[in-house]
Assembly symmetry: C2
Homo-oligomer: 402 residues x 2
Amino acid sequence: MSFIKTPNKGMRDILPKDMELREYVLKVMKETYLLFGFQMIQTPVVEHIENLTSNQGGENEKLIFKVMKRGEKLKEGNILELDSLVDCGLRYDLTVPLTRFYANSMNELSMPFRSFQIGNVYRAERSQKGRYREFMQCDLDILGEKTSLAEIDLMLAVITFLKKLDFKGFTIKVNDRRILTKMIECAGLPLSSLSSILIALDKLDKIGILGVEEELNMLSLEKDNVKKYLSFFEKNTDSIEEFCQSFSMDADVVSNLCEIIQVVKNNIDVNIIFDPTLVRGMGYYTGTIFEIVVDDFSSSIGGGGRYDKMIEKYTNQSVSACGFSIGFERLLLLLEERGFKVPDKKEKLAIVLSKDANLQEVFLKAQKLRQKNKQVKLVYRSKNYRFQKESLENENYEILEW
Amino acid sequence: MSFIKTPNKGMRDILPKDMELREYVLKVMKETYLLFGFQMIQTPVVEHIENLTSNQGGENEKLIFKVMKRGEKLKEGNILELDSLVDCGLRYDLTVPLTRFYANSMNELSMPFRSFQIGNVYRAERSQKGRYREFMQCDLDILGEKTSLAEIDLMLAVITFLKKLDFKGFTIKVNDRRILTKMIECAGLPLSSLSSILIALDKLDKIGILGVEEELNMLSLEKDNVKKYLSFFEKNTDSIEEFCQSFSMDADVVSNLCEIIQVVKNNIDVNIIFDPTLVRGMGYYTGTIFEIVVDDFSSSIGGGGRYDKMIEKYTNQSVSACGFSIGFERLLLLLEERGFKVPDKKEKLAIVLSKDANLQEVFLKAQKLRQKNKQVKLVYRSKNYRFQKESLENENYEILEW
């Protein structure tokens, strides 16, 4: 019998010491998001293969764990066409299930719908440190709210959550897809190249402005227009209005972005800035986009934006939408690295029993203490008591010999 | 584009109103089990196909959602042998992953190890009411404790949890696999027929003693021995000692079972009884078995037992083990049917905004209230305000017009 001891490739067992932090962070998150009026929902991990391959997921669609049909249906599949053997797969994000959830249950939801979803997602990525094939996502979304109320409340909820964890040293970067588009248009660059241009721009912090120029020129764009495009970014100003003057951005997009930043700033002590080079990968964003960047960490620990057209695509009903997703595993990693300790632990007592202890009496004692909210572990004295005692003390157990 | 709105067959979206109860019950469970010194662990939903098909799972192994290999490995598979296209699958219980977890991490665990695992499991069963293909299991296990301390503490933990939910009207039935075996032996029936005999016995409450006799006689067993076997069950007594006299059961098995029942009874107000007809399906049990039966519900909402040989089979290390699993979905169903209400809800306030509300001021107000632990939802006044107001009031929101 070949029994394999290690977890499935790229996935993890989580040990008790790590669960403690996970559970604490989830508890704080739930408490906070509920205060902001978000409502928890849950969707299946297994999703129709049709929904997972509808082009909503971008590159993630290449990383699907596909589930084989079962029974008669499997026999009906054509073995020469492997996809005909598959009818579902594991979700790669929580946005596809949310879209399906909304389409299926919209009549039972109070609108605007403030959705809060925590769940594992699956991506068959190449294994590398800190990247898992099963990992948790925590998504907030507001469906049916077209004003900046959505962006502001999402940001305040997430920032409040991070602050309750005493998490410091991060910046919220904000931009708007419409600004990114307008700059390309105004420079005379073709919108047909929009996504390639943005992919290049997204590398700015890694390869510098000259590197971006080089990449753009490789797209066989007009060199003068590329120069004009990049010159927009050279304007050295903190003011969105001023930055946007050179390409005559619509005033309402500018004032919308200004309001979001201003209201968030006035409500909570946080570093929030306009960053015209912020791109965000997913193609479905239509307006504001934002990202939490941690000063001593290479990539972001969360982000989101407005995606007003997506739900319409699947439901034929126009519904504006805005979401914010936390990279839960990365946040945990950072909290650990920074030596975060779960506060306010329970008193822990280990009752160490001799071989002939009267169980009747022991359990009555334990029950009394547990009723007083004390954590009690019952354990027989082992042959190597010194080692046992040390281990228990290392786990912060007070010891009662019985 | 074919986008499917309904969840995958046999699986469910969980709406906010149902999540509230789920979350509350999970919270009470976690608090209780932690008080009893259990430690949370988490294992991947995706498990090696080898581990899922190692005969540990009984009938469940026929219900596996199999996951296809990816990339080059898929191409190497033999399309005429579908199983060669599969390298993993979705777990059908939490016991297989626990065994693997223990085998892989035993050196990092404090022994005896008190494991507490909550997670979804997957079974491709025929759809029927109340049976899902994705459902949550909540398992407690104590590994490395050979005495009845394990059974007693498991039962007390589970009963305490149910009592905190004010859950009434249930009975704990207890038996021992060794008693079931001894009765068969003593009646002169062949142990090679043990599992078929127990399958028949398990139907006693449905088909009566005559029905069981009929089924046993169909197994081509000696009729006299069948009669002798069934006569053991006719003894009308509450005393385990007395019941076991007729087939001279080992005294230590009897006293062990008596002690478990006695100590549990003395510690907590609960209906706990010896039931010699209790079988429990899984073949891996070696000693005590138990089940929670709800008086007005056809089947059990939880159960477990001792399985001292299983881990040895996979790790070559002798480790005694005892577990108790709660049927979480059934428990929720019962709580709902009985009209259980989540207690102690937060104050909820909806601030209903006019079109030209000053967001700056609104958010300052909301932030203040949220800091005071009040749940605040911000929402613009809709065209049909009467309907909106009614909906909010139905959700128990106090309304503040702004």
